[in-house]
Subunit: 152 residues, 4 copies
Amino acid sequence: MSEMAPMPGMTHSMPMRVYYEDTDAAGIVYYANYLKFAERGRTEMMRSLGFAHSRIAEETGIVFTVRRCSADYRAAARLDDALTVETRIAEIGAATLSLDQQIRRNGETIVALDVLVACVGRDSRPRRVPRSLRAALMQPAPIKPPIVQKTP
Amino acid sequence: MSEMAPMPGMTHSMPMRVYYEDTDAAGIVYYANYLKFAERGRTEMMRSLGFAHSRIAEETGIVFTVRRCSADYRAAARLDDALTVETRIAEIGAATLSLDQQIRRNGETIVALDVLVACVGRDSRPRRVPRSLRAALMQPAPIKPPIVQKTP
Amino acid sequence: MSEMAPMPGMTHSMPMRVYYEDTDAAGIVYYANYLKFAERGRTEMMRSLGFAHSRIAEETGIVFTVRRCSADYRAAARLDDALTVETRIAEIGAATLSLDQQIRRNGETIVALDVLVACVGRDSRPRRVPRSLRAALMQPAPIKPPIVQKTP
Amino acid sequence: MSEMAPMPGMTHSMPMRVYYEDTDAAGIVYYANYLKFAERGRTEMMRSLGFAHSRIAEETGIVFTVRRCSADYRAAARLDDALTVETRIAEIGAATLSLDQQIRRNGETIVALDVLVACVGRDSRPRRVPRSLRAALMQPAPIKPPIVQKTP
């Protein structure tokens, strides 16, 4: 189906650091907080394409809301760890984006996530993925420089 | 000054539990999270008087926003601790409430907070404390049963 | 397989309230925070059986760590909503517990979660589910009074 | 008093971004979350001097714990805002550090914090500020390049 165009494989990469706020009394990052990291990665991928959340909401009334999320926890991050959040669009639907995200430490995946995000309007009803966003997401991956977030 | 009427000393008490999400890698409750506990206590005090935040916002457009907060950390709470958040109105201003809050474990104060909350409208401008809320806050403290939150 | 005994269907139910800390600028509960609610529910289920996390860790060195989690977001909770976290053991493995959790508002499931929890020792290595916990989890569901958390 | 040497005025500056996780249903950053931002700033100031928290804890058994914190909220940050956390050592005591922190947006201070941090050992008892850290904190401010965090 034409709405489900496979992506050319662009991967956005965002560096980040683990702070005390992210950890818990077991000495590791609290399991829900990896979802925060993943959301930062998705946000920065969108911003790198010119689609900051606040701008989209203002201009189109559309917000992105998570419909499904599954996380596979393979190892534990700890205080002061330097992590990388890698975000790849897996599929673009009519009103949804499917994302494959990897949270890595020194190249090793410590948490892998599959996230289904839906576009909704201010009335919480489904809205189509904006045409300009779809075009930006489907452009061929740049060779260099890579799309990498420079500052937090 | 008539706007700064001293309060008759009602203290609202809310029981709560410390979960993993509240702790950090030092094995204790993360310092910012006591401010969450304090806000839950203020919210439940207001709810017990019939002024749930969402109802006030809907009916009057007023939200409460913290202008100043100081916290004195005397001891550390840990995982599974049963705490009590005690909230007392210290002063009612024209557009502000001053609150004295104690977070206790077995009667001992572990964190003491002074919080200045302001009423603002949807335009973020100061608004007077609603007359009905002022009246409710100034009513003589009930003798029994105490105003205590029953469920979380 | 004897290690994978199906459970008799006990469901633990924990009431809770949505506070400002749980919401985000879209006006709804932030998607990662439902995982905090779910963890509170699992913690209270364990506590109701006499297995508070801090006691297990102290007595056996075992902590529970999430290996996999999938969340299906069906509706959005909002500020001041009264929610119920329902937790049911789906399967007891040699070193894991599989849980089925529903976060409900007025009976309607707004988020459904499947969570796989592993027992690990202080060295982060897998440990068998303690025999006493296994026995407690497999006891026939009590008829009355129901296992319900009374206070937060 | 020799223990209370005034600092030469070094200011550490850390850029950061506001994400959905930081905001609440009032559309602004939740008041407790500015304390997270401040702690990130203190952590990065220490790291820039060679004193990452995890390294200090491992080598000396010392952790830093907040004893007092006061926050003056002057304006509200919103989703996608680019903020700067400025951290300055105000005073170095025998076992404490007093810090002056400003969270700014486009140069304007939106939240100002005074934070008193204490050094404690694994037994939670006060410990002297490590001599090497004291020396690093008291060195004359570098002219260029400024001590600025480059990556998150």
